[in-house]
Symmetry: C2
């Protein structure tokens, strides 16, 4: 088949160039005083690049008209002006800053880890609180094992040691996706749990806000979303304050407690009568209950992943600095956790059954009294928890973008928005976290059972991946490395099983149901994208320009009016054989239309289809079927005229038929729908 471009007489469209000069008629001071000047009206919008290349300026994004201008203004107000790809910065962090940025997630869990253990132990009565210190020490031991194990991972993956990457790399796609699903779910939970705990820290000192905690939590999530859409850089500096403030405040609290202990006036916590009025122990102190309390306390290990994810952001030597920071973070966390658990045991604190005050607030109030120290500590707690939630706003979109890049998630997750942030991932994370906060009423205790299952699954897969890597590579020191990672993998695997089984009925089942569904979904998405890619890739078709047959052009018209005439004129401008189609149930009006036709529409062919069943879409589709049966390769262009009203709500009064038609025509084989707008003007 040869290339047959249409060969028309008359003036042709000029060569396309937005930087061409145009003549602009200007009016002078006096009436009738007009002159013509030459302007380049779009020189602010485009810059000329190489031959046939233009560079769009920021104005092409910002300048809009009508209602979209208002949307743009709101958007610019909320998240700022667009940022050019050139301006992407990769700031490197010192260890001190990196500690603040990446370990806030881990360190902040000390704010609620002790409390959540106590809430489980309370089921067996306050006497079970004697187990708080031993359990704390076991968890610290596990943390030491995991941190040591992750030091190896960091060295092996200096470009970023996400469990998804480590597991995919060494174990294959399915383990990789399992780690990814576990992490995605846990990132959402990190936001929900951290925000809930942060709000709880505030309401502990401002009880008046307690009833509004769900609303406040969701407002915080929205604020984090906007901040991240704006593109909060992981700049460290502004993030250092909350982390170190919290660190100092909790250490101070522990020191204050030690001093009062030494001076013998630490005293004992007296719970309000109403808390204890509730019935006695609900159950016995079984092994299962102890395991459950351990599982709740194991939230302490969340956030270890964050540092390994962020290795490339460290100053060189990256892996060395990251390792040192990981060790420091683990030691700091252990100190705070042990200190808080010791204080809780020493003063015999009892958690508030109504969740109106946190255990940390109760301890601080007991040790330091109602004073500025309490307020500073609670504010620092709230801030570090917000920061911990913010970590997920970096991790979730980044992991989603890896997954989208690999075809496991919709492509939008890989697109950077105007501010270089992964818009879709940020919005998706916010929406999911907001739903969780709403459903679980921003209660840390209600959310905890869902949390940490995913963390330990991801840990196990990542470290098993490392074991496999040592085994395969047998590099220098592989035996010790394998031993360390093997111990880590075994420990976290055991904990994953303990967590999943002890929390199964209270919520972990939801995660264990969701994760496989998410994995299946991701596999389905990749299968689909791959199938599409195989079909659309150009390397399967021959080179050279593709030629299409001249299309059949039909114009359905309801009556003879200006929009219809405009549509017919357009159809005639793209085809010599355009046919107008009038489908009607009224033979008289059809006859009248036919009579006036030559006068209005010249020689354009008119076909009248009488439709005694008053249907429009059915006869049109069948008519098109008939045309295509005769000439199956030739595309059909359906030219629809649409009235464009001046206000959006006026659309309800127009184009209902066009809309139905388009819905049915969309996806019809070899059918092209061309919308010709007819603009209504101000009357």
């Amino acid at each position: 088949m040869t290339n047959r471009p249409p060969n028309r007489p008359g003036p042709e469209p000029r060569r396309v160039d937005p930087l061409l000069e145009v003549r602009e008629r200007k009016h002078g001071q006096r009436p009738g005083d007009a002159y013509v000047r030459i302007v380049r009206p779009f020189e602010d919008e485009f810059e000329r690049g190489d031959e046939g290349q233009l560079i769009a300026s920021e104005r092409t994004v910002l300048s809009r008209t009508g209602w979209t201008a208002a949307l743009r203004r709101i958007r610019t107000l909320l998240i700022g002006r667009p940022i050019s790809s050139e301006h992407e910065v990769h700031e490197r962090l010192t260890k001190v800053k990196a500690l603040a940025v990446f370990s806030s997630d881990n360190i902040s869990s000390s704010a609620y880890a002790t409390e959540e253990m106590m809430r489980i132990l309370l089921i067996a009565g306050v006497s079970a609180f004697s187990l708080v210190m031993p359990l704390t020490l076991v968890i610290v031991l596990v943390l030491a094992i995991v941190a040591t194990s992750y030091r190896q991972t960091i060295k092996a993956y200096p470009q970023g040691a996400s469990s998804y990457i480590v597991a995919s790399d060494n174990l294959g796609t399915l383990p990789g996706l399992t780690a990814a699903a576990a992490l995605l779910i846990d990132y959402v939970l990190t936001v929900a749990v951290s925000v809930s705990a942060g709000v709880a820290a505030i309401t502990s000192i401002a009880p008046v806000l307690f009833d509004e905690r769900v609303l406040i939590s969701i407002v915080i999530v929205v604020a984090l979303m906007l901040g991240n859409l704006r593109g909060i850089r992981e700049s460290g500096t502004i993030f250092m304050a909350p982390t170190y403030l919290y660190l100092v405040a909790v250490l101070g609290l522990i020191a204050w407690g030690l001093v009062r202990q030494a001076s013998g006036d630490l005293g004992t916590f007296h719970a309000p009568a109403s808390w204890l009025a509730q019935e006695g122990p609900a159950g016995a102190l079984t092994i299962f209950l102890i395991a459950r309390a351990f599982s709740s306390g194991a939230v302490a290990l969340t956030g270890v992943e964050a540092i390994s994810d962020g290795v490339p952001a460290f100053k060189p030597p990256e892996w060395k600095n990251a390792r040192t920071t990981l060790t420091a973070a683990a030691i700091i966390f252990a100190t705070l956790f042990v200190g808080i658990s010791w204080l809780a045991s020493a003063i015999h604190v009892v958690p508030d059954p109504n969740e109106e005050q946190t255990v940390l607030a109760l301890i601080a109030r007991h040790v330091t009294g109602e004073g500025p120290y309490l307020i500073v500590l609670q504010l620092a707690t709230a801030l570090i928890l917000a920061l911990a939630a913010n970590t997920s706003f970096a991790d979730f979109p980044r992991l989603s973008s890896f997954l989208a890049r690999d075809g496991f998630m919709p492509r939008q997750f890989a697109f950077r928005g105007e501010r270089l942030a992964f818009t879709t991932g940020i919005v998706a994370l916010s929406a999911l976290a907001a739903v969780l906060l709403f459903v679980f009423e921003a209660s840390v205790t209600a959310l905890i059972p869902l949390y940490t299952v995913g963390v330990f699954v991801a840990f196990t897969l990542s470290q098993t991946g490392m074991v496999m890597r040592w085994w395969r590579r047998r590099e220098h020191g592989w035996r010790i490395g394998l031993l360390i990672n093997g111990l880590g993998a075994a420990t976290t695997a055991v904990i994953a099983i303990i967590v999943a089984s002890t929390k199964f009925l209270t919520g972990a089942w939801l995660v264990l149901v969701m994760a496989p569904m998410l994995i299946a979904l991701m596999l389905g998405i990749r299968r689909h994208y791959r199938a599409v890619e195989r079909q659309v890739a150009l390397d399967r078709i021959p080179h050279g320009k593709e030629v299409a047959l001249e299309p059949i052009v039909i114009v359905p018209i309801a009556r003879l009016d200006r929009p219809a005439r405009q549509a017919i004129a357009f159809a005639n401008s793209i085809s010599q054989h355009a046919t107008a189609l009038h489908i009607t149930n009224d033979p008289d009006s059809a006859a009248a239309l036919r009579e006036r036709w030559p006068e209005w529409a010249g020689t354009t062919e008119l076909v009248v289809v009488e439709s005694p069943y008053r249907a429009l879409v059915g006869p049109l589709l069948r008519y098109m079927d008939a045309l295509q049966a005769q000439d199956p390769d030739r595309p059909i262009v359906v030219v629809l005229s649409e009235i464009v009203p001046r206000h959006w709500w006026e659309n309800l009064l127009h184009n209902q038929t066009s809309l139905r038609l388009k819905l049915r025509l969309f996806g019809r084989r070899n059918t092209i729908v061309a919308d010709v707008p007819y603009h209504l003007t101000k009357d």
Copy 2:
């Protein structure tokens, strides 16, 4: 400007004719045994009419493929096969049938009118029930006045005396629309009240259904909707049974009561202790309370409109037969209403405060005992009430179609569906009634305050219109006519004021707020349609074929794949100057694309727009602005390639960008969007 059709070499599209013969390759028994036969594959779908005219058969409506085929099957199952316009029938009704069809609305209100009066009087204690009989007689007197007045209207408007028509005709647009708004609101309330009362009749004998009354009510509305979409003819015959059954059953009940009264063993109703345990009278028997009780009883007058609306359906002489039927209906209703009120007073019945049983059911149970008579009466009541609701399913769509024809409502309300019913009106009425039933929990007592305001407003306007008509025409007997209609108008006006003021706080305010909004909306719709009509009407532009300039054709492409190539090929088939536009933030990929371009796309021009802000839509729109600044009259065709996946949900993974683009391009001046589908096949 001259007509410049494209002049292309090569084969052209054949003349459009779906009845042309095509060659079909058939395979015989043995492999390789093939022959060609000539078939007319669409001869079942179209019939040839005059020159250039086709007649579509029912098959064009019924035969579908894919998921729409399933929808069609469900639709055919629910409402039947389409009906040709030719088969529209206009059955004429005898007086006996017409009474059953048109007066069910009026007669059925006897089932709840007494009860609703009593519920108001109860506020002043059971002693106020002595007013039931006097109020009943006043309402019967009003009915006599209104019926006499309407006898005149029927004679004057034998083509159908809807208040909208009478008021528009004699008083002008605004009074006409006021009557229309009042009627539309009341039709919705008629459905809600009648269905609620019908369900109450059933739950009175089957208390187990009481908790499901909202669901049952909505199911009945849906059933009525489907029945009317199917096009229940006002055939009379099937409608006679419930009306006459109810008539006989209630008359029998009254007779039974009279007999027991005569024999002295009628006795007194004993309310269960729990009903009376509720605190004593809540208020005094004020004039206001009596007026409110009267207002509640005035529901008795609803349905008088139905007969006047239906005049054209009577056998000739239409107006005479309609008048006689109206009188008969009023007498029958009065008899039933007085009889029920007398029985209620005679046995001192007390309404059930929980609305679990109707007063009529309590009376029947007291008079006839728990037996078959009670069951028959309740079933007859439920059936006549369903019939009354059905009257609105004829009236509301018909009035809406009048309003749509006059441009006061969206055009869809004037279109007859496949079964010749006014689909949009029927669906709108059902949806509104279902919302009311849901919000007011299918309680007659809760709905009554909203009801009847509209009826009396419409009555007043219609009869005032008649007064004006007598005054203007001064035909034979105009003085008496004017007097009668004047008395009717004055009476109903006074009642409208009483109803609106006594029920204002309990619900009528809603109607008094809605009606003006509805009127404003209808006026706005007509203003809009008129403004559009002035702009689009052909008589404002010169005769002769309109000629459009050859359009500028641009093809935005994201990458070089088969869908993009197909879109470019289509663009080349409609224009010699199509330009591909690649907007990208990655200069390297753009360079690669440019390098491979001639190989893949031949001589088609390629413009690369580098977009450092990663935006696509903004630069594209500004580029189009630039083109149009140079050549403002020339349309721009934007050719978009869209992937059509095999399952609808896969659309989430594709075309997100196309969708955003189309939203922004819709309504852009002189811009035509052409969608070129690329169909994915089974992998």
